[in-house]
């Protein structure tokens, strides 16, 4: 089974590397790129929502801070995009600390409400503070990162590799993180907070760490998004998008690494196939959210696991009967 796991990962990595040279329609390349941006964002959210058990509705705000931060730094201050992106990510991280410190004193539903308020505040500022953000009309002509070693990042195919690299690093980091001492402590907090405190886990510090990581990854995805689309306005940073990110995680399987990846791709591709039903999109999303929560709270990953175990049991059963057949 180990071979199966690593084999699948290997095939997926090779496939993802081949995407731009397969000669697919630019439209599909766009959808895949966009899904990968979402993977970074949802991986971040998953740390606080899936592993720590605190549902944050602020992820779209961090996505927005990353996007607006990097855009304004590069457009208004004329910084190189290679500098503006890390600075924007830093900015999101700082925003994460600033909002996380008060918000994480609250629990459960209250935490969700505070983060939702934060998301609304950031969005209102994006719309209303038009001297800085240009308001609803948005900012056009967001520059691409300058060429490095002759690689021209204004080409979508090349920018795809930049995003893919960010995705690999994000996945590597989150994988290592959730399997570290910190990650296990976060799961303990999720499962039983008083117990976590009793065995000496500094609750606030660990939750702050989780929330800040989610903010940093949210900011990173936002910065990558802005320089990919070359245009930003406040629309993709509303509370609705925070909810979509939550949906992606629940759908895929919260508290797993694979879950948010599956969820992100479904959430980006599904509306394209539901084009006919664009009007009913939120109705369908809402219904999905409810049905999944009631009937398969562990998401698609769980279904895959069950299927895998079934195959395993079958295989084991076969070899067992073979063995017994030999014995007879």
């Amino acid at each position: 089974m180990r071979y199966l796991k690593w084999g699948t990962i290997g095939v997926l990595v090779v496939l993802s590397l081949l995407v731009p040279v397969l000669g697919m329609k630019p439209y599909y390349l766009h959808l895949i790129t966009y899904s990968l941006i979402w993977v970074i964002m949802t991986q971040g959210l998953n740390i606080i929502q899936g592993y720590t058990g605190y549902v944050s509705i602020a992820q779209a705000a961090f996505f927005g801070i990353g996007a607006y931060g990097s855009t304004l730094l590069s457009v208004d201050l004329g910084l190189s995009v290679w500098l503006s992106m890390p600075l924007a990510v830093l900015l999101s991280g700082i925003a994460g600390v600033v909002i996380g410190y008060p918000a994480l004193r609250t629990k459960g539903h209250y935490f969700a409400i505070v983060t939702m308020s934060f998301c609304m505040i950031v969005w209102v500022l994006m719309v209303a503070w038009d001297k800085l953000t240009r308001g609803e009309s948005g900012i056009p002509n967001v520059p691409s990162p300058p060429s490095v070693f002759g690689i021209d990042f204004s080409k979508k195919e090349n920018y795809y590799y930049l995003i893919l690299a960010a995705v690999f690093l994000t996945l590597l980091f989150t994988y290592r993180f959730v399997h570290s001492r910190f990650g296990r402590a976060l799961v303990t907090i999720r499962e039983n907070e008083p117990l976590a405190q009793a065995i000496g886990i500094p609750l606030l510090a660990y939750k702050m760490l989780a929330f800040t990581i989610s903010a940093v990854l949210g900011g990173l995805s936002g910065a990558l998004y802005a320089h990919y689309t070359h245009f930003i306005n406040p629309t993709p940073f509303t509370v609705d998008y925070s909810l979509n990110a939550i949906l992606a995680i629940i759908l895929g399987g919260s508290g797993t690494i694979v879950g948010p990846i599956i969820g992100s791709f479904i959430l980006i591709f599904l509306p394209e196939y539901l084009r006919v039903a664009e009007e009913y999109r939120l109705l369908i999303y809402g219904l999905m959210l409810i049905l999944i929560t009631i009937y398969m709270p562990k998401g698609i990953v769980r279904i895959l696991q069950v299927a895998l175990e079934f195959v395993k049991a079958k295989a084991a059963g076969k070899s067992a009967s073979k063995a017994s057949g030999k014995g007879a």
């Binding site: 308020s117 009913y280 409810i290 929560t293």
Partner: protein, 279 residues
């Protein structure tokens, strides 16, 4: 004066939310959407059938109560024993569904429920239209009735018992399922009244559900969970703050005040202005 009206609307929303969230622990994020949808029912009845506004108020409240009961049954009850995060996600799903349905059924534009109550009363230098006066009186009556119901009836006692300890209530023989139904019916009926209130004085639009429920939670947390006077003072405070803030700064920042206020209160006094400790 506008601040007081917006504030009364928030009070109606917050009280319904307060009993649902405070007693059942369900973060009913679709509460504002129920209010909006019921407002549209009243709008259609007045516009299409030419009914009287206050007759439609009763129908809207009944409609909202019914919606509340159905939502509790089919959406919230299945996850009652699951982790609390599940009911939260269900609530978000309902919010999306109801707002989207309203968009499809009624269109995205703002509407105002028409009415013929436009006489103007003047007293002590304040002038007020009969519509606003009647709505204000009705709100007061509804709030008082809700208070009396919870404080003095047998069912009210059962509701308060469930709020304190669900398991213990079961042991002493309280039908907690029925309590859930009654709480959702009452809370949603308040939302129905709120929808008619806001629709006839200001406006209705499908996307208002989310913003409304956020204000409701802001009031609830500001005033303190489970506190009647807290919800009333909190609602008026936010309404008036918004009104002054808009006059002083700009209407673009209108929605900012409630949320900034909310965050500040949660940081310094998480139990709210009138809240009991340990909520």
């Amino acid at each position: 004066m506008n601040g007081v009206f917006i504030g009364s609307y928030y009070v109606l929303i917050a009280l319904g939310l307060s009993i649902i969230f405070g007693i059942l622990g369900i973060p009913h994020f679709a509460h504002g959407s129920v209010a909006m949808f019921s407002g549209y029912i009243s709008y259609l009845l007045v516009k299409r059938l030419g009914m009287d506004l206050f007759a439609t108020l009763i129908i809207s409240m009944l409609f909202a109560a019914l919606v509340g009961i159905v939502l509790e049954r089919i959406a919230y009850r299945p996850v009652r024993n699951a982790p609390p995060i599940n009911s939260f996600i269900i609530a978000l799903g309902l919010l999306m569904m109801i707002d989207n349905s309203a968009n499809i059924l009624f269109g995205a534009n703002q509407v105002i429920i028409p009415s013929s109550y436009d006489r103007v009363f003047r007293f002590a230098g304040v002038s007020i239209s009969s519509l606003r006066l009647y709505l204000l009186i009705i709100s007061l009556v509804l709030i008082t009735l809700l208070y009396l119901f919870i404080q003095y009836t047998k069912m009210g006692k059962a509701i308060r018992a469930v709020a304190q300890n669900r398991e213990a209530s079961l042991i002493v023989g309280i039908d907690t399922d029925r309590v859930s139904t009654v709480v959702f019916a009452l809370g949603s009926a308040m939302a129905g009244a709120a929808g008619v209130f806001i629709g006839s004085i200001f406006a209705l639009y499908p996307a208002m559900g989310g913003a409304t429920v956020m204000k409701g939670f802001a009031v609830l947390i500001l005033g303190g969970l489970g506190s009647f006077p807290g919800a009333i003072i909190g609602g008026l405070l936010i309404g008036i703050t918004e009104n002054f803030g808009t006059a002083l700064l700009s209407s673009a920042y209108k929605d900012l005040f409630a949320f900034v206020l909310l965050v500040i209160v949660l940081i310094f006094k998480p139990s709210g202005l009138f809240g009991r400790k340990g909520v």
